[in-house]
Symmetry: D3
Subunit: 338 residues, 6 copies
C-alpha cells in the first residue's frame, strides 16, 4: 500500500502564541500544504507515502525536504528548479478574532512547473491511492493540466483517486474552479468537501449560515447526494465545522456512499491550531478505506483523527493510530496518560 | 481631526504566558498607560493623535517614544527630564487566579512634572478632542493642577474633552478623588466609567455584586443619569464587564445621552490580555463620535473594538477599523480569513 | 511545627506550550515529585519543611537542591550517592488529547537507596508531621522497607503521619501495592486518596465511570468509610476530579472523619498545569490540620489551594495562604488585583 | 535638511544565533535593505529622512512601515500595490563558515513598479540629498528607468545625489551593470564603493586578493582617482574590509576628493552582525557632509559609525551621534558606561 | 565562620544577547548588587553568609529573596518596607561598543532606610567578617550613617571588616565620597580597590591611561602603599583590568600587605558577562583569607575566581572552589570535562 | 556505497548559550553520539548510511529516529526494547571555563542489548564500510561482544572497517580498554585517534602537555607508526587539537599510511560547538576514502569538514561537500555568500 499526494508545500511563518503579525520580531517557521499534510499524517499512521511537488534549489527547500523525511515521507519524486518556494503567513486568532492567512505563493516553483517536470507513469508506480486537493489545479493553468495528466495516469493504472475540493477564492474564481474541477472529477473515486466548497465549486445549494456557525445535519445528505449524482463518486465525505469562536469549534463529519449517510460523533474542540484539520480528516479517511473499515468506522476514525490534529501546533498531524483509536473508543476526557 | 491625550506611560514588565512573577528570569517589556493606549488605538484607526507626558532622558524612555512613533503617535510635545519612568509589573491570571499588578510608578518624571513643562496653548493647537483619565490627576497634586490647566485651555479653545474616570485606589483616597475630579468634571463633555468608578469617585450607588460578576443592565441607566445630573455631561458611556474567570469575561457597554440609553451586544471573550480593554473602549467611542456615528452605532463600535483588544497581547490595541466593523456586522465565529 | 516529607524528586522535562515531545528541540526543565511538591507548597504557606531523598553527586542534582532551597525547603537530610536522578517527560495535553508522561526513573539513586542512607531518628527530630505517598514504597523493595522504618520511627516519636495513596500502575502491580501499603497503613493517621487509588490499592469498589468524567458525590462517603474501617485512619480526604477535557476540569474534595463527611465547593478550572494538583491538595490539608482548622474549613482550604495550583506552570505550588483564603472567601472571578 | 533614499526594503528572516537555516523552526524577522538602512541610520543621527519604495497592501508591509516609523523615517511617499514584498534569508556565519544569504526578492512590488508610482517632483520637495545604491537599478529595467528619472529630477532641483555602487551579481551581469550605472553616474555627486564594486561595475582594476583578506592601502587612491576621472564625482569614499573570519574583521575607509585621499583609523571588529555595515558607512558619510565636516573628520565619523553598526544585530544601525563621536575620540576599549 | 554583607540588591534587566535596549520587547530579569554578589559567591564556596538590605513588601522583592535563598544566603535579617526595589538596566556591549548601565535605583527602600531598620548587634552575632562596598554609603546620607554604625559594631565585636571602594560617580561627588569614606576606613581591615577608585575617592595619583587599557604593574604598589599609609589597612588588594574590547579583557590582581606586593597571573578573558567581576574577586579574597591562605595563594585564588565569573551570565558567580583551584593549577585551555 | 555505523545515540540536554546547568529552567534537546554523528555527517555528504543501535519503545526514542530520518539516515535496523535512552547533559564552556559533560547513560537500552538484538549478516548487507568507535565496546561487556561479532561479520563480507579509538575514562579503565580494543583492532582497517587515545588505550607514549595545548607535529608520526606496527592498520588518522581556550582552538590532522604522513592545514577555529568535531573528522575521512581521494586530499577534506562542524550548534555536522571543498580551496575568510 502506497499513497502518493501532489500539490504545493509552503514555508509557514507564524507569530508565536496569539501575537499579531510582527508584533514581535520573530516567526515560527514550519511547512505545510494540503497534500503534504495528508502525506505526513498517513506516514504517521504507518502508511508508505510519497509527496510530489516542485521546489527551488536552495536551503529553505532543503529544510522542507528534511522535514518531510523526518516523518518518513518519500521525497524522491520532487522536482527541483524555479525561483522560489511558496510562503504563507499565519496569525493565530483568539475568541472572536479569526486567524488570518496572508499568501505569498505566487511565482512559486510549483506554480510555474511544466509537464516535463513530472513523469507520472514512473511516479505512480506501486501506488495504491493518489490524492490531491482543489488547491493544486487552482494554482496555475499549467498545474491544472499536470493534475489532469496525473489523474488520467492513475485511472489507467487502476489507482484509487481521492480529492478534497478545498476551494480557495484568492486563487481562482468560482467559474474557473467549476470548469477545471468538473474536468477532473470523472477520475475521482472519493470526494472530500465541506458544504461551502460544494457550493462555491459546483453551485450545490445548502443555505447554511456559516458565520453563525450553525450546523444542520439534515442538509448534508442532500449535498452529498447531489455530488454523487454529478460525478458518480464512490464515496463523499463532508466535514462539519461549527465555529463558535477562534478557540472553540465543534467538529464532526459524515460519509455518504451507496445512498447511505453515516455520521461521526461531534467533538467540542479547544483549538490549538486548526490549520490542517481538513487535511488530517482526509488522511484519516484514506487510512480507514485502505484498511477496509466500514463507513461508520471510517468516518469515526477520520473525525477523531482530525479533531486530535486541531490540538497540535503546525500543519502536520503528529498523531498515531493508537491515539485515534483511543479517542474513537470514548476517551474524550483528556486525562493524563502515565 | 486631531486627538491629544495626556497622562503617564509606563514600562510594563510581564512574565511570559501564565508564569508567576520571577518564576522564570525574564519579562516581556512593553509600554502602556491609559491615555497612551487611547492614542495608539486611535492612531491605528487612522486618526491623528498626540500623546503628552514627561519622560526621563534615557534609553528606556527613548524606547518608549519609538514604540509610540511605531504606531504613528506624535510625540513632539513630550517633556523630558526628571528621574525615572514609571514601571508596572503584570502577572497574567488564569481561571480563578486573577491577574496581579504591582506598580512601581512613584517618583516618576511625570508625577514630579511642573506646570512649566507643558505649554497647553501650543500643545492643543489644531486639537479636536482632548482626552485624559482619572489616573492622571491622581498621580500627584502637581499633575492635578496641570490637568486642570489643560482642560481649561481646551475649553477656551472649544475643544471637546473626554475623561475616563478610572479610579485607582492605590493612588488616592475616594475623598480626594471626589474633590479633585469634581473640580475637573465641569470641563468634560464625555464621561466614560464603569459602575465601580462612579461609586468610588462620586458615591453613586449601584449595589452591584462585582466579585460574583453578575450584570444587571437595568441599573446602569440610573448611574449614567446621576452622572449627567451632577456634571451636565453630553454623553456618559459605561462598560459592563462580567468576570466569569481570568480567562472568560462577558463584555458589553452602554451609552447614555439626552436621557436615552443604548446598549451594545454582549461578547463572550476568551481573554488573551484584558489590560487596556477600557482604554480601547474609550478609543472606539472617540473614533465613533469624531465620525458622527449615532449613539447606537457608536456603542457597538466601541464595544466591539474593546472586545477585540482583549484578544491581543499588550496594552496597545492593534485593531483596524475594518476588523471592528466586521465584528459589529456579526462575524463573531472567529473563522480563518484566507 | 515542622513537616518532613520523603520520596523521589525528578527532573521534569516538558516541551513548551502544547507542543508534542520533540516537536521542537527544547524542554522546560523543572523539578517535581509528590512529596517534594508537598514540601514546597507547605513552605510557601510559611510552614518549616524538610524534604528527604537520595540524589546523585552531580550538577543536575545540585540544581534540584537549589530549587528546593529557593522555596525555603530544608535539604540538609538529603543523602548523596548513586548513579542518577529520576527523570520524567511531560507532554501537556489539550482538549481531548490528554497529557502524556514518560517515566525515566528506573535505577535512580533513591530507588537504589539503602537503609543506612537515612538515620530516621535524627531526621525526624523536631518533626510534627511526616508525609509520604504511595509512590515511595512502589519505587523499590528497599524503599518500601525504608518507608516502613520511617513511619515506625515517626509513630514512636508521636509524630502525625499522612499518606497520599497515589497508585502508579507502571511502578507496581495492584497485588504488590496492596500488600506493601497494607503494612504501612497502620502507622498512618491521615489518608489522602482519590476513588481510583482506593480501588486499585485496596480493592474498594466505587463503580465510577472515570473516562466519562462523571462525579457522584454520594459514593465517596462509602469509600472513605471503608478505608477508615480497614485502617482506622483519623481522617480520610478524597479529591474529586471530573475531567471534561485536558483544558477543563471540575475539582472538589471531601474529608471524612468521625463518620462525618464534609465537601468543598467545586471549582471549574481552566487548566494551566494539572500535574501536582493532588500534592497541593495534600499540602493544603496538612496546613489546615496543623492550624487546627475545622474539617469544613480544612477541606475548603485544601480544595482551593489545589484548584489554584492547577492555574500555575510546574509541579510546585507557588501560592500563598492569602491567595487561598481569598478564593475560599468567594473571589472566583479572576479579577485583576491592582 | 532632509535626505530621501529610494530602493527595496525586504523582510529579513534569520535563524537565531549561529544556527543554520531551519536547524530550528523559527526565524528572527526584521527588515532591511541598503537605502532603508541609510534612512534609519540617518534618522537615528537626528536627520529628517524619507524612504521611498513600493510595498504590497498587506500586514507584513504594514509591519515594515511601522518599523520605519519607529525610527522616525517618513514613509508617506511609499507606493502601495503589487504582489509581494521581497524577502531575504540570512544565516549568520562563524569562524571560517561565512554568512549565507538566500534572496527571495523576485516579483516584489518594487521590482514591478511603474513610473507612475512615483511623482519625483513632489517626493523630492524640500530634499537636500538623494541617495540610492546600485541595487535599485539592478532589480528591474523599470526600476533603472525610475531611478534615472529620480536622479534627473534631483539634479534639476539642485539636490546633492549620493550612490553606493553595491554590485550584486545575482541581480545583473557586469555588462548590464556597467551600462546602466554609467547612465546614472553623471547625476551623482558622491560615490561610495568598495574595491570589488569598482572592478565589477566599471572594470577598474585593483588586483586585490579578497579571499585572503589582505589590504593594501596604497591601491585605493588609484581606484578613487579612476572613478573621479570617469564621472567627475565630487567625492569618492571607499570602505576597506579585511575579513579574517566571519567573527573578526578589520574595517577602515578612505575618502578622496580634489585629488587628496584621507584614511580613517582601522578598527578590529568582533562581528555581531556585519550586514548593513556598508549602509551605515554611507549614512555616516552623508551625515558628515551635511554637517560640513572636513574630509578627514567625515571619513573618521563614517568609519566609526559603520564599525559600531557591526556590533549590533539587524540591518538597521541603532547608533547615536554621541556614540560615534566617543569612538572617534578614541574610546575603543569597550568599557562599561555606568 | 560566617560572613555578613550589607548593601543594595537590584533587579537587573538586560536585553538578551547583544541586543540594544528595547530592540526586542523583553528583558532577562535577574538580581545583583555588589554586596549580594559577594554573599552569593562565598555561599557557592561553602561559606555561611548573610545578606542585609531593605526591600519593599512585594512579589518582586520576594523573588529576590528566593534567588538569594536558592544559593544558600541567609536572608533573615533583611528589613521590609519602603516603596520600591532598585533596578538597573544593562545592555551588553560588543567589540568597541561598551556595555551600558542605566540606574533606576533612586527612592529605593534601602536608600530610604533608617537606623532602626537594622539591629547590628543582633545581625552581626556569630559573624566572622563584615563586608561592604563604597556603593552602600553613597546611596544616601542615612545609609552612610547606618554603615558607620555597622562597622563600629563590627569593630567592637572583633569582627574583621572588608571594603571594596567601588566609586560610583552617579551616586556622589568625589568630595563627598572622600569625606564619608574617610570616616569609615578606620574600621576597615581589608581594602579592595582598583586604581581609578583610589584616585577618585582618595585622590591617590596613578596617571593610568584607562581608556587605552594599558597596564603598568609597577605603579600599583605605590597606590597600595599610599592606601595603607592613610588608613593602616592590614591588606590592600587591587584588581587590574585591561579592556581591549567589550569582548576581550586581560585581568589580574595584586595584594599588598606588610610592605610586600604579590601579583596573580594575568588571564585573557573572552567576556561572557563582566558585571560582578570585582565582586567575585572580593569573594575569592575573603574566602582565601578566612582559610588562611598565604598572600600569594590568596591573590591567585581571587584572580582565578573572578576571571571565571566573567565567563558566566549574570551578576552572581556560580563557581565552585574546585573550579577555581583547577584554574589556579594551570588548566586554562578550556578543555571539555567529561 | 553504503556505510553502517553502530553505537549509542543519546538525548543531549544543553543549557542555552553559555548558561551553566539549570541557571535557567530549560534545555536545548537534540541527539548525538559518536557513530550516529558519523552517519548523519556522511548522509549530508550524499552517502547512503545506516545507523544501528537499540532504543526503548517511547516517544523520546521516536523523536530520535525522526531526527535521524530527517537527515536521511536509514534507521530500519534499530532494535527496540529495554528501559531507557542514554542522556548526556552538556554545559558549554567559555574562555578558560571548559565545557562540562554529565553522562546519564547507564542502564540504557543499548548498554543492555543482547546478541540476538542484531542480525549482523542481514544488517551489513550491501554495506561498503562499517564504522564504530571505542565508546561502543566500552559501554558494556555485552556490547563489546556484539561489536566483535559485527566486525568479524564485516571482515567475512569483505567490508572495510574503521574505528575511532575515542577513549572515555568514565566508561572503563585503561586496562580493560586495552584488552577489549586489542581484540577488536585486528578487524580494523582504518584507525582514527588523537594522541591521548593512543596513550590511554594502547600505552603509546607521546609526552604531550595537553592542558597547555601545545602541538608538536613531529611526534605524531611516531604515534601513528606504533599503531600500524601493533595492528597492521591500512591507515591511521590523528586529529590535532590545540585548546587555547573554550572559545578558540587550533585544529588540524595527519594521516599516515604506507609509512608516509600527510598533514592538513591548521585552522584557527572560533568555537560554536566543539562536540562532534572528531566524529565529523571521521565522516570526512570515510567520505574521502570511499571516493578514492589521495591521502593528502583526504586529510585536507577531513580536517576542513571537522573544522566547519565546530562552527555549528549540536552534535550533528550539517555541512555539504561543496562547503568543505570551498574551505579546502582556501576560502577561510568567512565572507558573506550572497
Amino acid at each position: 500500500m502506497k499513497v502518493v499526494t501532489f500539490g504545493e508545500i509552503m514555508l509557514r511563518l507564524a507569530p508565536f502564541g496569539y501575537l499579531r503579525f510582527l508584533q514581535e520580531p520573530s516567526f515560527q517557521a514550519t511547512f505545510g500544504g494540503g497534500e503534504a499534510n495528508v502525506a505526513v499524517s498517513l506516514s504517521n499512521f504507518g502508511i508508505d507515502t510519497k509527496f510530489v511537488t516542485k521546489l527551488p534549489n536552495n536551503d529553505i527547500a532543503l529544510g522542507c525536504v528534511r522535514e518531510l523525511n523526518k516523518y518518513g515521507v518519500d521525497t524522491s519524486s520532487i522536482s527541483f528548479g524555479g525561483d522560489r518556494m511558496g510562503i504563507y503567513f499565519l496569525e493565530k486568532g483568539a475568541s472572536m478574532r479569526g486567524s488570518k492567512v496572508i499568501y505569498d505563493r505566487k511565482y512559486s516553483s510549483i506554480s510555474m512547473a511544466k509537464k516535463e517536470d513530472f513523469d507520472w507513469d514512473t511516479i505512480l508506480n506501486d501506488c495504491t491511492l493518489f490524492h490531491f486537493t482543489g488547491i493544486t489545479p487552482a494554482i496555475s493553468d499549467s498545474l491544472a493540466e499536470i493534475t489532469l495528466e496525473a489523474v488520467k495516469t492513475a485511472k489507467k493504472k487502476g489507482i484509487t483517486v481521492s480529492c478534497d475540493l478545498n476551494y480557495r477564492k484568492k486563487l481562482w474564481s468560482k467559474e474557473k474552479a467549476n470548469k477545471v474541477m468538473s474536468s477532473l472529477m470523472p477520475y475521482v473515486d472519493i470526494c472530500i468537501a465541506n458544504e461551502e466548497d460544494a457550493q462555491d465549486v459546483f453551485n450545490i445549494s445548502a443555505n447554511a449560515d456559516l458565520n453563525a456557525g450553525k450546523l444542520d445535519r439534515g442538509r448534508y445528505e442532500s449535498v452529498a447526494k447531489q455530488l454523487v449524482d454529478m460525478f458518480n463518486f464512490k464515496k463523499v465525505a463532508i466535514t462539519l465545522r461549527e465555529s463558535i469562536s477562534a478557540n472553540d469549534n465543534n467538529w464532526g463529519a459524515m460519509i455518504y456512499s451507496n445512498g447511505v449517510a453515516n455520521y461521526s460523533k461531534t467533538y467540542s474542540i479547544r483549538i490549538v491550531d486548526r490549520v490542517g484539520g481538513g487535511d488530517s480528516f482526509g488522511a484519516g479517511l484514506i487510512y480507514s478505506l485502505l484498511n477496509n473499515y466500514s463507513d461508520k468506522d471510517a468516518i469515526e476514525f477520520a473525525a477523531a483523527a482530525s479533531a486530535l490534529k486541531q490540538t497540535i501546533e503546525g500543519d502536520f498531524s503528529l498523531i498515531s493510530v493508537n491515539e485515534v483509536e483511543s479517542l474513537v473508543s470514548g476517551n474524550i476526557g483528556g486525562r493524563v496518560q502515565r
